[in-house]
């Protein structure tokens, strides 16, 4: 008996997985049997749409983890900060010159001193800094309300870069060589500080971010009704347009990042660094600079996700909880896999929406289902779907 089990371990394990999957499908199917087909299709569609943004959030976490091996627990608060900065620049009609000047100065100083503060003493760097400050301030303050998109995008870009670089410089860089535990706690501490800063600057009230509005009527889009499938679906499936736009933009940002990662020299350097830091250093790459760029890029991705999420469901401090739901997505996709981030995000989105469909009163979808998935991933396949296989003894 024992010999048989040992010989066919692999097959038996798979058989167990299949049995578990069949049981789950039977249980969920039984629960779903009472629902209309239209509701199920609608849930599936909105799950995929919500999952697109989750994938973008997961991408930011994966990028940092790939490059520096730090799992960023502060990602949710980076989303909030980015979204809030966007809101400030988008809704305020007249941006104060002083504020714009301060923001761009701080950003340019952080950018130019990425290697070290001493960089600022070299001849052309101060000139570049001043030029950058002037351009950024001009972009942020030029014109009036009709340029609000330009203001908002420039402001968010500057704010996100500043956040990412500052976090890397003051919190992560001093920890090089420290154990994993320290890095985990450091990102938690950064999350607390960002939490406090957001609360001081923007308060706790939910803000309205009117970016996904109908240009003609200047009000919310009317949801799409899938009338064509009425006969097949036995009812009406309704899809919110905001979610569709957010999904499309998230995919655009995702593809944009992949292009950047694949075809630019900075992206190549980032890939080399994430492969092996010492090797990258020995071929002449500045690992420190590349880590800083990675954090800035991840903060920018987080900001985009924050803006999309804020536009789709409303901007408040609660957005940071989205990142907590994305952790299961990251582990499901694999800690190092970029495609895994998107697929994991979409799966978690679908799971969340179906959880809400099955039991809407008890917050099963948002507060339980993702973490059950997390436990399952950890027990069955800790490396995730696309992650690197780790060979280590437990």
């Amino acid at each position: 008996m024992a010999e048989f089990i040992n010989k066919n371990k692999r097959q038996l394990t798979w058989a167990l997985y299949v049995i578990a999957a069949v049981l789950i499908v039977l249980f969920v199917g039984d629960q779903l049997a009472g629902k209309k087909a239209a509701r199920i299709v609608q849930t599936l569609i909105s799950g995929v749409l919500v999952g697109g943004v989750y994938g973008l959030v997961a991408l930011g976490i994966v990028v940092i983890n790939k490059a520096s091996g730090v799992f960023n627990f502060a990602h949710g608060w980076m989303m909030v900060v980015g979204g809030m900065i966007f809101w400030s620049f988008f809704t305020v009609s007249q941006i104060s010159l002083l504020g714009a000047l301060l923001l761009s100065t701080a950003t340019m100083l952080m950018i130019m001193s990425t290697v070290s503060w001493r960089n600022l003493r070299e001849g052309r760097n101060p000139l570049l800094t001043i030029g950058g400050i002037i351009v950024m301030t001009a972009l942020m303050t030029v014109g009036g309300i009709e340029w609000q998109w330009l203001h908002a995008l420039t402001g968010t870009f500057a704010g996100a870069i500043l956040t990412g670089l500052a976090v890397e410089r003051f919190a992560i860089r001093p920890l090089i060589g420290q154990p994993l535990f320290t890095a985990v706690l450091m990102t938690l501490a950064v999350a607390e500080v960002l939490h406090g800063v957001t609360q001081i600057a923007w308060g706790t009230v939910e803000l309205n971010l009117p970016i996904f509005v109908d240009p003609q009527t200047n009000s919310r889009f009317r949801p799409i009704r899938l009338d064509a499938f009425r006969e097949i679906l036995d009812g009406l499936a309704i899809v919110r347009v905001e979610l569709v736009i957010a999904f499309v933009l998230a995919i655009v940002a995702f593809v944009g990042f992949i292009l950047f990662f694949r075809y630019t020299s900075v992206g190549l350097a980032m890939r080399a660094t994430s492969e092996d830091q010492q090797l990258a250093q020995s071929v002449g790459l500045r690992v420190r600079v590349i880590l800083a760029i990675t954090w800035a890029v991840a903060a920018f991705l987080a900001s985009i996700a924050g803006v999309l999420q804020g536009g789709a469901v409303g901007l408040s401090l609660n957005i940071s909880f989205v990142a907590l739901r994305v952790f299961p997505a990251v582990l499901l996709g694999g800690l190092e896999s970029i495609t895994g981030a998107l697929i994991g995000g979409i799966i978690i989105g679908i799971v969340e929406q179906f959880g809400t469909l099955l039991n809407s009163s008890e917050q099963v979808g948002t507060n339980l289902a993702p973490y059950v998935v997390l436990m399952l991933v950890l027990v069955i396949r800790p490396d995730g779907l696309f992650g690197e296989k780790r060979i280590e003894r437990i």
Partner: protein
């Protein structure tokens, strides 16, 4: 490192090397500190001696610090000594708190039995969530405990709502010793309520009503104050006993606050009854001073126990698992069982702390056991010094003093000048935002400048003091 003796004095036996009190003076200081802790409430404003040397606020603060010292010491066993990251410690505290409250409310356990029972229950659930350590380690294990941090409060909030009250706060009875022999028996009839003076806050009156014979429907039993209002639960606790046919057969009632009360029994729809009211005294721990004498000695005892566990075979195994698990396995240590033991011990500590928290506040709400609390406890451990026996004490004291003494003094000052300096800041937001900023900032400073925590500084300081005036 801290074991510095004068030149020429050496430890000659293993016992000497491992002893907790290195010198007679160490022992003296420790005992004096413990004595001062025990005497503090007696000289407080509402203390029985009426001296008023210490403000009541500090007595409550010390008790809360002691509770969190227990919880963080549990985390220290798991994180500091065994090297397993846990992000779900607050959830285990929630199990201890709700476990003891439900045992007391639904099954009639007293505090003294509910405490060990809920600690054991928490330990078992801790074992359950430690099981993934069979398969994953390091960061992945942290993720598993993060899942516990979400799953456990969810389970307490929704499926167990009948028992836990969901989002509403749950009342917890005060701990009590007794009741002792009864001192008065009264016969009660239909129209005259029993009026009595309930005694002082420490020796409370326990009323038990037994109905010898009832005709008609069950009578209504009420405990009211002289104004005729029902007495709030915090002041009294009342249990009504019913027989199988749901008829009231009696009740027991505890008045923990001094004052005049009356018990009235009204028969419904013209029935008649005969009731005996028995009054007896019991020792109650409803006041914060009385709770202090449960919490603080227990915290000291548990700190001592943790210190001792680390000196045993188990503790040495924990440390070897932390330092190098492969080497530990080669030495013949079963790494998995020792990790599970660490999870169990840590959860037991968390359960005791949760139970004490429930009984100290007399009221429970799930908001106290969110992810923030877990992170806060980890931060306390790091700031105090992970892997040091006194780390938990230093960390909790530091963070609590920061939160409860420093922030309130800073707040008016900050709300005054910060809005002037930065025009977009609203003074209303400063109050809620200052706590996370100071807390996160402190943690960052400690992680960068002193990752080994205050306890390490303390050891360095002690050595420097012993070596004065020559620093070698």
């Amino acid at each position: 490192m801290a074991n510095i003796h004068p030149a020429g004095v050496f430890d000659t036996t293993y016992e000497e090397d491992m002893s907790i009190d290195r010198t007679a003076r160490d022992k003296l200081w420790k005992n004096l500190a413990f004595l001062a802790l025990l005497l503090a409430p007696l000289v407080s404003v509402s203390g029985p001696l009426g001296l008023g040397w210490v403000s009541d606020q500090y007595i409550g603060l010390i008790a809360r610090i002691a509770i969190f010292v227990i919880a963080v010491q549990g985390l220290n066993i798991l994180v500091g000594y065994t090297g397993q990251i846990s992000l779900g410690h607050a959830a285990f505290m929630a199990i201890g708190a709700y476990g003891s409250a439900i045992l007391a409310r639904e099954l009639g356990f007293s505090f003294w039995t509910a405490l060990p029972a809920s600690a054991l229950l928490t330990g078992l659930i801790g074992l359950l969530f430690g099981l993934p350590s069979l398969r994953v380690k390091g960061f992945y294990l942290a993720m598993a405990t993060l899942a516990a941090q979400f799953i456990i409060p969810w389970a307490l909030r929704y499926p167990m709502e009948d028992l836990t009250g969901g989002t509403r706060p749950l009342n917890v009875p005060a701990p009590m010793i007794g009741p002792f022999a009864s001192y008065a028996d009264d016969k009660l009839s239909n129209d005259e309520p029993l009026v009595f003076e309930a005694g002082d806050p420490y020796f409370v009156d326990v009323i038990s009503v037994s109905l010898e014979s009832v005709a008609g429907g069950s009578p209504v039993i009420e405990v009211v104050n002289p104004a005729g209002d029902a007495v709030p639960y915090g002041d009294v606790s009342m249990t009504v006993y019913r027989d199988a046919a749901d008829k009231v057969t009696g009740l027991s009632y505890i008045a923990s606050k001094a004052g005049a009360y009356q018990v009235s029994i009204r028969a419904e729809d013209g029935g008649a009854f005969e009731a005996t009211v028995q009054r007896s005294k019991a020792l109650s721990f409803a006041t914060s001073i009385a709770m202090y004498y449960i919490i603080v000695p227990l915290a000291v005892l548990l700190m001592f126990l943790a210190r001792n566990i680390i000196r045993t075979r188990t503790g040495r195994a924990f440390i070897s698992v932390r330092d190098n698990d492969l080497a530990a396995e080669l030495l013949g240590i079963n790494v998995f069982t020792y990790k599970l033991r660490a999870f169990f011990l840590s959860a037991v500590y968390a359960g005791i702390a949760g139970c004490l928290l429930a009984y100290e506040r007399n009221s429970l709400s799930l908001d106290a056991f969110q992810l923030d609390t877990s992170i806060e406890m980890l931060a306390m451990l790091i700031i105090g010094g992970a892997g040091f026996p006194l780390g938990a004490m230093f960390g909790v004291t530091f963070i609590r003093l920061l939160q409860e003494a420093m922030i309130p003094t800073l707040r008016p000052w900050l709300s005054d000048w910060l809005p002037q300096l930065l025009p977009f800041v609203d003074a209303v937001n400063i109050t809620s935002a200052i706590n996370p900023i100071l807390f996160g900032g402190t943690l960052i400073i400690f992680l960068v400048l002193e990752p080994r925590g205050i306890a390490h500084r303390w050891e360095v300081f002690k050595v420097a003091w012993k070596l004065r005036p020559y620093s070698y």
